[in-house]
Symmetry: C2
Subunit: 341 residues, 2 copies
Amino acid sequence: MDRARVGLKDVARLAGVSVKTVSNVVNDYVHVTPATRARVTAAIKELNYRPNLSARNLRQGRTGIIALAVPELDIPYFAELARLVIAAAEERGLTVLIDQTGGVREREQLVAENFRAHLIDGVIFSPLALTPEDLAARMDDTPMVLLGERVYEGPADHVVLDNVAAAREATLHLAGLGRRRVAAIGAQDDVAAETSRLRLTGYLDALTTAGLPADDRLIVPVEDYHRADGAQAMATLLDSGAASDAVFCFNDLLALGALRTLLERGFAVPDDVALAGFDDIEDGRYATPTLTTISPDKAGIAGRAVELLADRIAGGSKVAAREVRVGHQLEVRESTRGRHA
Amino acid sequence: MDRARVGLKDVARLAGVSVKTVSNVVNDYVHVTPATRARVTAAIKELNYRPNLSARNLRQGRTGIIALAVPELDIPYFAELARLVIAAAEERGLTVLIDQTGGVREREQLVAENFRAHLIDGVIFSPLALTPEDLAARMDDTPMVLLGERVYEGPADHVVLDNVAAAREATLHLAGLGRRRVAAIGAQDDVAAETSRLRLTGYLDALTTAGLPADDRLIVPVEDYHRADGAQAMATLLDSGAASDAVFCFNDLLALGALRTLLERGFAVPDDVALAGFDDIEDGRYATPTLTTISPDKAGIAGRAVELLADRIAGGSKVAAREVRVGHQLEVRESTRGRHA
DNA sequence: ATGAAAGCGCTAACAG
DNA sequence: CTGTTAGCGCTTTCAT
């Protein structure tokens, strides 16, 4: 019963070979006679031997574990991303451990300085509160891939989305519907809020392109990017009296919160107010009306991130920081198109 | 720069003490003079020493890592659970690694037989496809805590919900509204589908209590528990012609899918059809109408699971399998109550 | 209160 | 093709 204490040498003894041979078999080393291999395999099975990963890791200096650090797992966007990252990592034999930072700066700093030193081979990191300076000050040289944001002259590989272009597309789509008072929900004051800044830039760009005047009263700031913030921001907007006929929310959660407020107050979407979000989370596809949104290539983000990280782990930190850009697409649904067509 | 290679003995040399002393400091051993401790601490800081966890683990036979095995991370219920488990584990200094089984039997078997032997100290497991026999046949003796289901004479600790009672409450609530044709969405044929069976039992119990006849045509089976299944099941129910004025969905995702179908076809909820779900995921609180649901004590589930597991890891596998029951509560919202009050 | 040395289980050199 | 041996970095007796 006490399989916990079966080691290589026990297998070796039973099979009548040396530990090296057993090790060779376990690691699929090529040069082993079929006969020997069979004997060893039998012994392994009989003793229910399982290699001790801690020992292997100690020896090799690698653990096969990577960390995925995200703000919170029950934000649908990050949940989807986590699923994809775990799946992509698995294909390369990597195990994923999750760190939740809550978007809190101190916790993000812990991640940046790699507080799990020697436990993980690398980290895929989606920072929220960290400034580029924080990142640049990073002392640890464990491979890291940054997600979602363009960090100016970043010290690490990163996988980015063209946030400006995507936000522009969404806003232009709203303007293209003939809406003249397009609001934006999701602005943030925080210096670290890159996402917010980029999407705001895209929104403003689009207004200019569409020949619409920018109006500060149509730009609503939020504390966070949850449904509750969206609901509250929409209420603020409606109460402000600054009439609007379309709203671009900087993510789907904000949009779903805004939608709730609109419906609660008896507005018709999209007839009275058209609504667009960002992220393409599944909720949006089942909301009523279904939510028009920017759909980032999430599988691409996850796949490329794991690929970059695996490469870095294998090759050391030789090459310079790389930037990979993934695509996105505007998904037009009922919240802007209406039920027809 | 090469902090990767700083070991205990480097610190010892710099501080002019033995490795043992450094180890004592690192592990907060009591008997170290303040002076020595200060010297060692300074050396640690100067060299940016970080203990090698693989080595420590090898020596101690424990890794401080536990696995959380769930079907999929982007099912909101499991995402919320994961967040809570990670938080609870962190409080005990445990790191969580996530395994996604997809609810696929083979993958669940891998989890049961602990394919990550020696890497994890224990596992919190929410199986979907595994039968009690599968679990009973488990050979590995790594601590395991089962989630969500009552496994008859289980071989492991488990944290359960009173599914039957909860389903009964939800159904009685619908009947209490005066609805006479209460349907159920979420039945499953699969032998392993314990959840489904228990909730169906509760539903049938409630019908009897309410003096309503059971009608097979009102019980709609589903393949899976996603929004798409709920939407399709609702369509099937409506198309069947078996008129119903209320539906109890076995989880919130099914309910949200069903809601989408109802609204799409022009039904009023709850006026035409009242709707109740199970899980209390956040989406339901922002849907229009907001979703009446059974709210399980998720923090309780996560906390108790981690607690049981930590206890088992610390104390060995001495005590018999334990069962902990956590509470739940009916949350009445607009999908049954309507907008008034 | 601190030090010396053994050894956790494995893989990588090097021999044979 | 297979065996021997050293040592990864740490904790843990056992001394002192």
